[in-house]
C-alpha cells in the first residue's frame, strides 16, 4: 500500500533544490528552443513561482514542467502571470495525486471501472 502522501518523511533539501533547478533550467531551455516564449505574454519568471513541491521526484517535476509547457502552448495567450503561477501549483498538486495512484500497481488483467455495458 502506498504511503508517499501519508508519510511525514521530509524530502532532503538538496533534492528539492535539485528539482527546482531542473524545473527552472528546463523551462528556460524549452521555452527558448520551441519558440513558445514568443507566444506568452508576459514571460513567467521561475523566481515568482516559488515552487516547493514536496514528495515529487525530479522526473515528476519534469512531467509537471512538460505539462505546463504544453498548457502554455495551447492557452498561454489567455493567461496572466498570476494565472500561470496558480496553474503551476494546480499541476503540482495533480502530480502529487498521480504519484500516489501510480504507486498502486495494476496487472494486465485488472479491468477498468469504465467498461462498455451492453443493453439487453
Amino acid at each position: 500500500m502506498d504511503d508517499n502522501l501519508s508519510s511525514n518523511r521530509p524530502l532532503s533539501v538538496s533534492r528539492r533544490l535539485f528539482g527546482k533547478k531542473v524545473l527552472t533550467t528546463t523551462a528556460a531551455t524549452l521555452l527558448a528552443a520551441t519558440g513558445v516564449a514568443e507566444t506568452i505574454a508576459p514571460p513567467v519568471s521561475e523566481q515568482h513561482l516559488d515552487l516547493k513541491p514536496e514528495g515529487l521526484s525530479p522526473a515528476d517535476l519534469d512531467e509537471v514542467h512538460a505539462k505546463y509547457l504544453n498548457l502554455l502552448r495551447v492557452y498561454g495567450k489567455r493567461l496572466s502571470a498570476e494565472d500561470k503561477q496558480r496553474l503551476i501549483r494546480i499541476l503540482t498538486t495533480n502530480q502529487q495525486m498521480l504519484v500516489s495512484i501510480r504507486s498502486f500497481e495494476v496487472q494486465n488483467g485488472d479491468p477498468s471501472a469504465c467498461t462498455l455495458r451492453l443493453q439487453t
Binding site: 502522501l5 515552487l51 495551447v74 492557452y75 503551476i88 498521480l98 501510480r102 498502486f104 485488472d110 471501472a113
Partner: protein
C-alpha cells in the same frame, strides 16, 4: 395561511394531511412560495422560482384528490430541485454565469417521475457553479452568491447542493433534490442539520442533469428525516434506459419497507475511527453518543478502522479528468474565465493535461478500492462516522488545501479515507443525519454508509437513530 409549524412538517406528515384533505395543496404552496420569496432571498437559496407552474400543479393536485384520485405520498407535496436538473420551460443555469440563459426543451427523468407522482415544483435551488466540476475555493463560487446557512447566515451551507441545504433547513420546502459527485449532498446536509441521502450509483436516473464526472454523479433527496428520504427515493428509483449507468431492473431493487426500523436482524454497526486526520472533538463525541443510542436500540456497535488506500486521490482525479471532458467546450472556448471562482477559471486547463493512460490507471485501481471497501460490509451492516470533520464554516472561508489559493506549493494534504470520498468513489449509498450541535449551535452530521445497492439498510439505520433522537426535529431561528 397555514401556521409556521406546517412548513416544518415532514413529507410523510404533509402527505397524510393532504390525502385526508386537512391541508390544501394550494394554500400550502402559496405559503411556501411566500417563504421562498422572503427567507429564500435572504439566504440566496434559489436561482429561479416557478410560481406559475407550482400553483398550476397545486390546483391540479387539489382537484384530483378531491375527486378521489390520490397518486401517492408526494401528491400535492411541494419540493425544490437543484438547478442542474432540466425543467422544460425554465432556465437551467448550472449555477454558473456562462449558462445563466440556458434552457432545455425537455424534462429530466426525475422531473417526469415527480410530475407523475403529483409533486409540486416550487423552484430551482442555488448551487455552486457547475457543482464544483471545475473546482472552487469558497462558497461565493455561485451565480447567485453564497448560500447562507439558516442556523447562522454568516456561515456557509457547504456545497455543491448549497441552495438545497438552505431550502430544507429553513423550511422553504419539505424536501429538495440535490446531486452528489463527491459529497455534495452529504456535506450540505451535515452543515444544515438535515437528512440527505446519496443513493447507490445508478439507483436514480441522471438523464437531463448536468454531468460532472460520468462515473460518479448521483442525484438524491435532502429532507427533514430519513423516512422522508426513503419516501422520495421510492418515487425516483428505477431503471432508465436514457441513463447509460442506470442499474438494471434485475439488480437489487429499492423497495421501502416502512415497518419499525428495529424489526428484523439487529444491525451490526462499525464506528470508523480513522477517517480524518483532524476532527472537531465535539463532532466525534456526538457520533460516540450516537453509538450509545444505537446500542440501546438493540444494535451492536464496534470501533473499526477503514483500510488505507488512495481513495481520495482516485476520487479527485476521476472528477478532474472526467470534468475536463464534460466541460471541454467551456474550457477550450475560454469562457471558463466567466466563472466566479479563481480556481474554476483555470482548473480545466490543468486537467486537460492528464493522459488517457493515467485516467485508465485510476479506473483500474478503482475496482480494487471498491473490493477493499466492500469487504468492510462482510463484518458490518453499516459504517458510521462524523459526516464532516467540522460544523459549518464562515461564509467566506477559503479552502486551506486549495492549491491555487496558497502562496506556495506545499505538501499535499488529503483525508485519504474521508467517508464521503470513499462512498462517492465506490458508488455506495450513504446518508447524513443530524446528531448534535457545536458550542456555537451549529449542527453536526453523522454519515451512515452501506454496501453498494443496499440503500435500504442505510435508511433503516438512520430511521432507527431518528426514532430515538430529536436532533432532526430542531429548527433554526429565522
Amino acid at each position: 395561511m397555514p401556521t409556521q409549524d406546517i412548513y416544518f412538517m415532514s413529507v410523510r406528515a404533509l402527505g397524510e394531511a393532504i390525502r385526508e384533505q386537512r391541508i390544501s395543496p394550494v394554500e400550502l404552496t402559496e405559503g411556501y412560495l411566500e417563504r421562498c420569496r422572503t427567507l429564500g432571498k435572504r439566504l440566496n437559496a434559489f436561482v429561479t422560482l416557478t410560481p406559475e407552474l407550482a400553483l398550476r400543479q397545486a390546483r391540479d393536485a387539489e382537484a384530483e384528490i378531491k375527486a378521489g384520485h390520490y397518486r401517492g405520498s408526494l401528491h400535492g407535496v411541494p419540493y425544490a430541485v437543484k438547478d442542474l436538473v432540466t425543467v422544460k420551460g425554465y432556465p437551467t443555469t448550472w449555477g454558473a454565469v456562462p449558462y445563466e440563459r440556458q434552457s432545455f426543451d425537455y424534462n429530466a427523468t426525475v422531473i417526469e417521475r415527480l410530475n407523475e407522482a403529483g409533486a409540486i415544483l416550487l423552484g430551482k435551488a442555488a448551487m455552486i457553479e457547475l457543482a464544483g466540476g471545475l473546482g472552487y475555493s469558497s462558497g461565493t463560487a455561485s451565480l447567485t452568491g453564497p448560500a447562507r446557512n439558516p442556523w447562522n447566515p454568516e456561515c456557509w451551507t457547504c456545497g455543491s447542493s448549497s441552495g438545497s441545504g438552505a431550502v430544507v433547513a429553513a423550511a422553504l420546502a419539505p424536501w429538495a433534490l440535490g446531486s452528489d459527485t463527491r459529497g455534495s449532498i452529504l456535506c450540505p446536509s451535515s452543515w444544515c442539520g438535515i437528512s440527505g441521502l446519496r443513493p447507490s450509483f445508478g439507483r436514480v436516473s441522471r438523464y437531463g442533469s448536468m454531468a460532472i464526472a460520468y462515473s460518479m454523479d448521483k442525484l438524491g433527496p435532502m429532507a427533514r428525516t430519513a423516512d422522508d428520504c426513503a419516501i422520495v427515493l421510492s418515487v425516483l428509483a428505477g431503471h432508465d434506459p436514457l441513463d447509460h449507468d442506470s442499474i438494471s431492473n434485475s439488480a437489487l431493487e429499492f423497495i421501502y419497507q416502512d415497518t419499525e426500523p428495529n424489526q428484523g436482524i439487529p444491525l451490526k454497526i462499525g464506528r470508523l475511527t480513522n477517517v480524518y486526520d483532524k476532527v472537531d472533538p465535539d463532532a466525534d463525541k456526538a457520533v460516540d453518543e450516537a453509538c450509545r443510542v444505537f446500542e440501546k436500540a438493540g444494535a451492536t456497535v464496534e470501533s473499526c478502522e477503514f483500510p488505507d488506500g488512495p481513495f481520495e486521490e482516485a476520487a479527485e482525479l476521476t472528477i478532474l479528468m472526467e470534468a475536463a471532458s464534460a466541460f471541454s467546450q467551456l474550457i477550450q472556448s475560454g469562457k471558463c474565465k466567466d466563472l466566479t471562482d479563481p480556481v474554476g477559471k483555470l482548473n480545466g486547463y490543468a486537467s486537460e493535461q492528464f493522459t488517457a493512460t493515467d485516467y485508465l490507471h485510476v479506473q483500474r485501481v478503482r475496482p480494487m478500492l471498491q473490493r477493499t471497501a466492500d469487504a468492510m460490509f462482510d463484518r458490518y451492516s453499516v459504517l458510521i462516522s462524523p459526516s464532516q470533520p467540522t460544523a459549518a464554516q464562515p461564509l467566506l472561508a477559503k479552502d486551506p488545501d486549495d492549491p491555487a489559493s496558497s502562496k506556495e506549493s506545499k505538501k499535499l494534504h488529503l483525508d485519504r479515507r474521508a467517508p464521503d470520498g470513499v462512498s462517492s468513489l465506490c458508488g455506495l449509498p450513504a446518508i447524513s443525519v443530524p446528531c448534535g450541535f457545536s458550542k456555537k449551535r451549529l449542527p453536526y452530521g453523522m454519515q451512515i454508509m452501506g454496501r453498494a445497492l443496499n440503500d435500504a439498510v442505510v435508511l433503516k439505520a438512520a430511521r432507527l437513530y431518528q426514532t430515538h433522537t430529536e436532533w432532526h426535529l430542531q429548527r433554526p431561528s429565522l
